[in-house]
Symmetry: C2
Subunit: 179 residues, 2 copies
């Protein structure tokens, strides 16, 4: 994962901000190339469909970056909302800086690393969504993000897994009484 120092090198204007639970940092439709490095706390990115239902695309806690890379890369307005699940301390920086001609080789390499890791996560996620049951997806989530489980509300975990809170509750019940 890309660290804070790297970001401060990439964008000299990066600023630390303290944000409150529920505070919205990016809205669908925004023309923004901002990204957020989480110093402390927990954020999420998500879409809202025509029926008003939220679909969580990612969580990001300490040491992670959250942004709408898709729309930024193609200069589209944001598809994702980003807001805070906990009061958080974040570093706000501009991903436009990642494209500037005056980046060093070292910085370019770090950027490529960041992107490659994100691809890895997404590749796994797509394969999971296509091939395994909700129960297995939940088990995998528990193994992959053990520290998030107690910080993220159930309904958001359900949304991340692509199921309803009711379905997750049922699955948890089944696991509790020994499968």
């Amino acid at each position: 994962m890309q660290g804070l120092n790297d970001i401060l090198n990439l964008d000299k204007n990066a600023k630390t901000r303290f944000v409150k639970k529920g505070e919205m940092l990016l809205r669908e439709g925004d023309e923004s190339s901002l990204a957020f490095y989480i110093e402390k706390g927990l954020l999420r990115s998500y879409t809202i469909d025509e029926k008003g239902k939220e679909h969580i695309f990612s969580f990001a806690s300490e040491g992670w970056i959250i942004a709408d890379i898709d729309s930024q890369e193609f200069n589209h307005p944001a598809e994702l909302f980003i807001d805070c699940i906990e009061d958080s301390e974040i570093v706000v920086f501009d991903r436009k800086c990642f494209k500037l001609a005056d980046l060093s080789e070292q910085q370019l390499r770090e950027n490529a690393n960041l992107l490659a890791r994100r691809i890895a996560v997404l590749q796994k996620r797509v394969i999971m969504l296509m091939s395994v049951s909700a129960q297995e997806r939940y088990s995998t989530f528990l193994k992959s993000f053990p520290k998030l489980v107690n910080r993220v509300p159930q309904r958001m975990i359900a949304s991340y897994l692509g199921i309803t809170p009711e379905a997750l509750s049922k699955i948890r019940g089944q696991i509790a009484k020994g499968k």
Copy 2:
């Protein structure tokens, strides 16, 4: 999309190969950092689950690159199989070269571009898999890849969409008789 010239610059050992329909280029478990640029033809990458069922992760036709970026980035054995849907002409190159210290800034920038675009595709795919019906996913596929529709067998399109061939056939039937 990264072009052929860029690849030849990145890996001087890149070689053109003519491969037959059905020919397997990468197997799950392989320790390989090969990637394939498609000059002409059509390849696919996919997993096979415990029940022996195939799940297609991606197609790649003229001008595209196909590889198991996840396992390559983390030096894991391959999770994906890659084989040919049509007789194809491809350029085989080694993604290890993308990490070497002597790449030019220009080449690093092209690599970052390639990765960012892949992220964009995957972000859209994850959101689709989580939030829209099989029928809508098929419609989106038709719009996104109109040239592939007649070259890829239905059952593979179904697999890419995360549904069974029977379900896709039913959907096509419904669309044919005016929704």
